[in-house]
Structure formats: C-alpha cells, structure tokens
Symmetry: C2
Subunit: 495 residues, 2 copies
C-alpha cells in the first residue's frame, strides 16, 4: 500500500520549532487535520505508536492491580455539578448533547472531559463493605475538552487516553496508590518513550479540579519548553462526599472511600516527537517502532537484480532468527523495501522521515564484497558491515539506540536546567528557555505574579526517592526568606 | 480484590430466557446498567472478554492488509446528509452536540453512529492516484445509536466496535474485499467464540443504509432466535460519489473509488453468552478466559492446611510449565483461590457463575491419595485424577472444550434448522422458533408481508464456498413459482 506522497521540505528546528513539529507530524503521516474544529485524525504511522504505548502501559497498569472497565461517555450534566471545584474547572470546555433520537433531552448530556463523576455513580452502587476495597479500575477511552487553540497530539478537542480510578479504605492507601502510579508513569516514559522526566508535585494553582494533591511527570522538549506528560491525583474524599461513595468498615461504621485518579494521553506522542526528532524527520525509539529495520536493495542493473533481492530476503530471515535480536524485549519488524516504482534515494529519504530505526542498503558491489551498508537513524553515519555480522549488530544497536536516545535527551535537559538564586536572575534567563530550579516558599499569589510577568509556571515541586517534597534549606528566591518549609521548585514555560 | 457479592439465584432458561440472560450478565459482573439511558458499564469480567476479542480479531484484520487509524467521533451534520439512504437510515438514532465551549455551535455535530462520512472526507484528501490504492483502514471506537429498547451488550445506545473502511480501484476488488472480511468474521466467530454462524447475503430490506450489498454472519441463540453477529458491506461508489473520492487511474482518467466497510461490536459478547451459558452461569470458551483454571484448596483442618496450600501452589506451577498447556495457542491463567474469608462451596459457586473453564479441588484426603478433583465447567462432572496427570489433562481438556462448545452449538443449531416447502408450513412452525430454510424468489413486498405476519425476517441468503448465492432449483415457498433465480433463504425471528 502506498500511503502518501513524496514529502516536502521540513522546516528546520532552528528556524521555526512549531512549524518543524507540524511538518514532522503531517509529512511522516502521523496525524492530519480533520474537518471538525480542533479534532485530529490519527493515521497508521501515528496510531501504531499509540498501540505500542497502550500495550506496554496496559501491562504495567494491570501489574499494579487495576482491571480494565468501560463507562459511558455521556454524563448527566447534574453529575458534573456535584463537585464544586470540578465543575468550575471543566465547565468552559464541555461539549453538550441536547438532542437525541429526534427529541430534545430532558437533561443535557455532557461528553466526558474525564470520568470521575460517572464512575463515582457506579462506585457508590458497587462498594458496600471494606471487603469491596481496594477497587482499582482503568479505562482506555476518548475524551473531549473544547480547546480554543489546538495542536496535533499536544492539545486536541478530542483525544485518546487511559484514566485510572481507584477507591481505598484509608487516606494513607490512597496517597500510596497516587505515588505508585506516578512511579509507573515515570518508568514508562523513560523506558518506552526514552523521555527523561522530572516527577514531582503540582502547586495548588496547577492541581486537578477536584483533587487534594496532583503529582506529575514533566519532560523537556528540544525548544527547552516543558511538557506535562502524565498526572496522578489524590482525590481524597472529594468525589466520595459528592456521590456518597461509602463503605461499612471493620469497626461497623460507615466511611467515605479515599480515591485516586491518574492518566496519560495521546499527548505523549507529541512529547516523544519533540524530544527526539531532527530536521530530517521522525526519530523513533525502537520500542515504539512497527518496522525496526528496512532493507533497501539497490538494483541499478537488471543482471544483478535477482541476486541482490535474494540477499536482501536472506538477510531479513537471518535478522529475524538472530539470538541477539530475539533477546530484545519486543518483536521486531524487518521490511525489504522492494517497491520497483520508487528509487533507492526516495526510499532513504522516506525511511528517515518516518523514523525507521535502522536502514540497510545492499547493492551489487556490496554483494561482491560480502558487506552491506548499515545506518542508524539517530546517528546517521553509514557503516560497511560484513553481511554475517549484521544480524547480531542490529540486535545490539537497537538496544543501544533505545538507551542512547534517553541519555542524549537527559544530557540536553540537564544542560538546560539552571539553578537560580533570585527572581532577577530568573527573569534575566527565562527568555533563553530551559528549566529553572529555585528555592520556593509556596505562596500562590507570588506564583501568579511570576506567571504574569514571565509566562513561566511551576512545573513541579521536586520529590525525593520516597516521593516526599525535597526541602531546599535555602531562602525563597522570591521573598529571600528562609524557612524549613521551603521546597525545591522547577519553573519553566510550558506547552 | 473482592469485586461483588454472593450471587442471587439465576432464573432458569426454561422459565424466562430473557431474565436468565440479564441475570447472567449482572450476576457474573460482566456489565451493569448506568445512570445514562440505554448506556451500559462494562465491568472487568466483561471487558476482559472484549480484550481477548480485540487482540485476536485485530491480528486477523492486520493480516488482511488493513492498518488501524483513529477518526474524530464528531461528524458535521451536513456530512451525514450527503448520502441520501445513509442519512435516512441513521437520522432517527442520532445524538447531537449543539453547544460546546460555552457557545452554541454554528453547525451541530453528530456523535458518530458509524464513520463512513467522516472517513470519506479524509479519503478524498488522501487519495489522488491509483498508487494510493488500495487504502485499507480499521478503527476501534465507540459509536452511538439512540435506541428505544436496549439490552445489555445486545443493543445499547453507546457500544464499542471495530469498523473497517477500504478503498479500491475496481468494483471487483471491492467485492472481493467484502467477501474476504465476511470469511474473516465467520472464522473468527467459530474459532474464538465457538459460535457457529451461517454466512450469507442480506436481502434488500435488510442491507446497510448506503450499501450496494450487505453480507452477514448469523448465529442461533439457545432460545432459537437469530443474532446478527457481524456485517460486511460493499458500498460501491455511493459514498465516493457523495464525497468526490476520486483517483487518477493508469489510463489518465479520474475515477470514483469502490469502497467497503465491515464491523463487529460488543454485541458479540451477548451472542457468546446466549450460545453457551447454562442455568448455573456463564460458560466461557477457553480462548476468551482470563483465568482458565482455578485451584480451590479445601482446608477444613488447621494441621493439614499448609500441606494442601503447598500442593495447590505446586500444581499451579506444574500446569504453567506443562508442554501440552504451552502448546495451546494462548497463554493460560491459573489461580489458586486461597481467600480465607470464603468457604470452598462459595468458591465453587462463584467460579461456575463467572465461567472459569476448569476447576480443581484439593483437600487433605486427596493429598493422601495423590489425586485431585477435576471439573470442566461445561461438562460439570467431577473426576478424580492423579496429581501427576493433571497438567497434561488440563492442556488437552481446554483444547477439547473449545472444540466441543462449537460442536454442541452447531448440533443445536442444526437440530433446530428446518426446511420448509410452503408458507403454511412455515407459519405452523415459526412459533416453535429456529431457523427455516426456504426457496425464495427475492420479492421485497412478500418479505415485508412475512415480517408483519410472523415477526420473522430473512436472516441471510445462503452462499456457496465461493460466496455466490446458492440457487435452490425449487419453487419459491411463497409464490410456488419455479425460477432459476430462486435462492436459498434462512428465515427466523431475531434479536
């Protein structure tokens, strides 16, 4: 299947990062604009990345103890209003069904922006006793938030996500679950997306509408802006109160359940693109690829064509059978691109654009010498490798590429993370982009002022290995006051 | 996690089939009613079946050449109106978003009842040349059809499904694809759901709104009613005309693409339940199970408890390591149900209810004798088996159970399929239920009359192995007229 046309030139990152991003998404056929305002179409190249994300994260979520459910996407409008902060946070973004089946509805239905309310209406029915707890559910679904400014993958009116919702007998268990899932997201982002993230706590200004506490993971994009890549909320008893989600505890008293919710979305694909890709196109971590290796037979002359094609096919079989390749934690896809209607040069360009991790070229001269040309997408350097050594090399290089993409992104982030001692220093440096680490007193009004004056926000308050806020032991960079309560906050401009 | 309470009594099938079905769905915690009219909540036990269906069918769909995409769930109302039959068919069932982001929308958005229109708007953009064909896409999504009477899984306002949409250069290719997918659905239904199906062609009265031709698979439920379990449509150029989906062919002329669409939904779960289950609860084909084997340690006395539990755990390990088990085409789940808060009798009942395919009991006396009690869910007969023989027996019995469920259902269907020579004979027998095979002239008006008088419809016109309509060579059972065009039709009352 020939799915698309020869790509146009990609705008270089240095020239216009935002245009570069859009060029990659459209030209690599990851997604496309749709006729519906703010909604995107996810095309095969993009959806296959989402499938890899789903498969791996779903495994981690199930291992954490949650099971998949599916809840209605329509929510009675009155449900949204039951939790005051929640409705205030989401009301401006709602899409509302007023007519159905040829009639005006008695009560309008909201298309879910998130499912805390509809799920709580069921929790209240299912949970009777402490024996019913913990109840841990997850849902893979589409949600709708009517956004004014949208960007493919990063912010779309409709997007795909998973949302976990759990109920616990005690506040301690709910807090532990919130942190566990934060850890799951951090590990997932680094191991699968090769995207290094800071994990931390959101400030009160930035927490989820209805939560007691919101944790998050934050990545740095190549333009040095932050991207929130996942959140985990401790909802306390806020929704339980609104929906009377109670249980009879061992001590024979009725108690409200303590809840959490946590989610990541198709936004991760945008973050992955902006973390690794370059001016030639998509750079895809091998764990997210469908096709890991493309073998391009170079067949300029008819008399050697059959031999070259045969060598390409044999190599494919040898790669698939190789022990190093089989030891990888995923199945690899090897494609022989023998499409006669395209030139080799076109194919090289195409596979750079769509991010195939490894390209092998075989021509008549290579055959004579018993070698082939190996090129790793992220490195871009051609190497002449003896044919017999290629399969093992590929297994090794795919593992190495996954690791090196993470290391490279981490080095970039670290090089662009600056500790600042004063607000003046911060203001003088924020235009250059990056993460700024500062000692912070936690004052919400000052935080608003910083946002107004610099467009930067607190991305997160840093946590130690036990997920407790790190105390800075230094004066607040805004007030100059020293307090034991001062924490370490990361400020940045964000998507 | 303790997810639910002790089940109430299940209504026997013979007493009230419809109530029996609802009892199974609710008590086995497959699904629940939601606060939103006609929408259901799919619970963990039900969703895990959907996941098994998705995994297997997705593999078959990809093997057929299609790739997964995702399209917006909102469709501009004007798109629906572009294909006349299509809008007429779906208009009464639409849910409509009129307000979003705090404002009234300029054009209302329809929540997709199916995606032919929104997808064609993208096909028209992506397809330029014969080189872009065939374009074969699939989507896993939720859809909404505002139904008056709903039943869990069988007919709900919102449901989950996959919908394939393909574009081809010629009418022949589109017809071939339509038939190919019909074959995929038939094989899938029989191999995974153990549900025997007739595959056939829909009459004009029953075809999809906008299609040239609709093929279907039809199963027989235990109440002898038919269930349409999947459809594959040849859309001809109907939508291509409406959306100007054209390509430049090799002969340098612009041509309309020929299209197909095909889908199955969460309805399959309802069909599977009504095909196999009994008065004790769900009977689940092993290929759809999460937990295939439950080992229940029977520990009446404290002094033998440790030894029994140890034997149970060893047996679990032995089953998982067994070669016969490993040769099964799926991974099996083995659970030791060592929950101290429940009695063994409660556990037996619970696992019968939720359909765990194999139950093993081990008690102190079994240990002494070196045996354990084996019970297959569908057979219900206890067998005392030497412990060492159990792992291999389980592997064999799971394969056998999958096969025998299909055979049993096929025998039931065949025993309840009757050939009728006249309409009088048909009318005298229809009250007893079942499928009725008749020679049929194809007259749509007569078909409407049959439906009015007997509530039965043509489920399908039978096809031969090449998917061509089987000619009956007999007089039409309604008109008595003999014609070469007379086909073999299956009539039944249906869900």
């Amino acid at each position: 299947m020939f799915d698309g046309i020869m790509a146009e030139k990609i705008t270089p990152r240095a020239q216009d990062f935002s245009q570069w991003y859009q060029d990659i998404v459209l030209q690599a056929r990851l997604a496309d604009y749709s006729p519906v305002k703010g909604c995107m179409v996810i095309r095969a190249n993009g959806y296959s990345i989402w499938e890899k994300i789903q498969q791996d994260l779903d495994r981690r979520i199930k291992k954490s103890g949650a099971s998949n459910y599916y809840f209605p996407m329509f929510i009675p409008e009155s449900f949204l209003k039951k939790e005051a902060e929640h409705v205030e946070g989401f009301a401006p973004e709602l899409a509302i069904v007023t007519h159905a089946g040829g009639k005006k509805l008695e009560e309008p239905l909201v298309v879910r922006p998130t499912s805390e309310t509809i799920i709580n209406s069921m929790f209240a029915k299912w949970i009777q006793s402490y024996r019913d707890l913990p109840l841990m559910i997850n849902q893979w679904a589409n949600v709708v938030r009517w956004e004014m400014r949208t960007r493919l993958f990063l912010r779309t009116t409709e997007f795909l996500w998973q949302e976990g919702h759990t109920c616990h007998a005690t506040a301690e268990e709910a807090e532990a679950e919130t942190r566990t899932m934060l850890g799951v997201y951090r590990d997932f982002a680094e191991e699968m997306l090769a995207m290094p993230v800071y994990f931390g706590l959101k400030s009160d200004n930035e927490r989820f509408a209805g939560a007691l506490r919101t944790y998050c993971i934050e990545g740095m994009m190549q333009d040095k802006k932050a991207l929130q890549a996942g959140t985990s909320h401790n909802l306390s008893t806020n929704f339980a109160k609104a929906f009377e989600t109670k249980f009879l505890d061992k001590d024979s008293t009725q108690k409200l359940v303590h809840q959490t919710s946590w989610g990541v979305s198709t936004r991760l694909i945008g973050g992955m693109i902006m973390t690794h890709s370059d001016d030639k196109g998509l750079v895809l971590p091998p764990r997210l690829a469908r096709t890991h290796v493309v073998i391009v037979p170079v067949t300029p002359k008819p008399d050697t064509k059959a031999a070259v094609l045969e060598a390409a096919r044999k190599l494919k079989a040898a790669i698939e059978a190789d022990a190093t390749v089989k030891a990888l934690p995923y199945e690899i896809g090897v494609q022989v691109d023998d499409d006669d209607t395209k030139q080799a040069g076109w194919k090289f360009h195409e596979h750079e654009l769509v991010g195939t991790p490894v390209r092998i070229e075989i021509g008549p001269r290579d055959l004579e010498k018993g070698t082939a040309v190996f090129t790793r997408r992220d490195v871009g350097q051609k190497e002449f490798i003896p044919m017999a050594d290629l399969p093992a090399k590929i297994g090794g290089e795919l593992a190495k590429m996954q690791k090196e993409l993470l290391e490279k992104a981490r080095a970039f982030r670290d090089a662009n993370t600056t500790e600042v001692a004063s607000y003046d220093e911060f203001k003088s440096k924020i235009e250059g982009g990056g993460f700024f680490v500062a000692s912070w007193c936690g004052n919400s009004e000052l935080e608003k002022k910083i946002k107004e004056e610099t467009k930067a926000t607190i991305r997160c308050i840093r946590l130690d290995d036990k997920f407790e806020p790190v105390r800075s032991g230094k004066p607040c960079f805004m007030t100059g006051e020293k307090s034991e309560k001062n924490v370490v906050a990361i400020f940045a401009r964000a998507y």
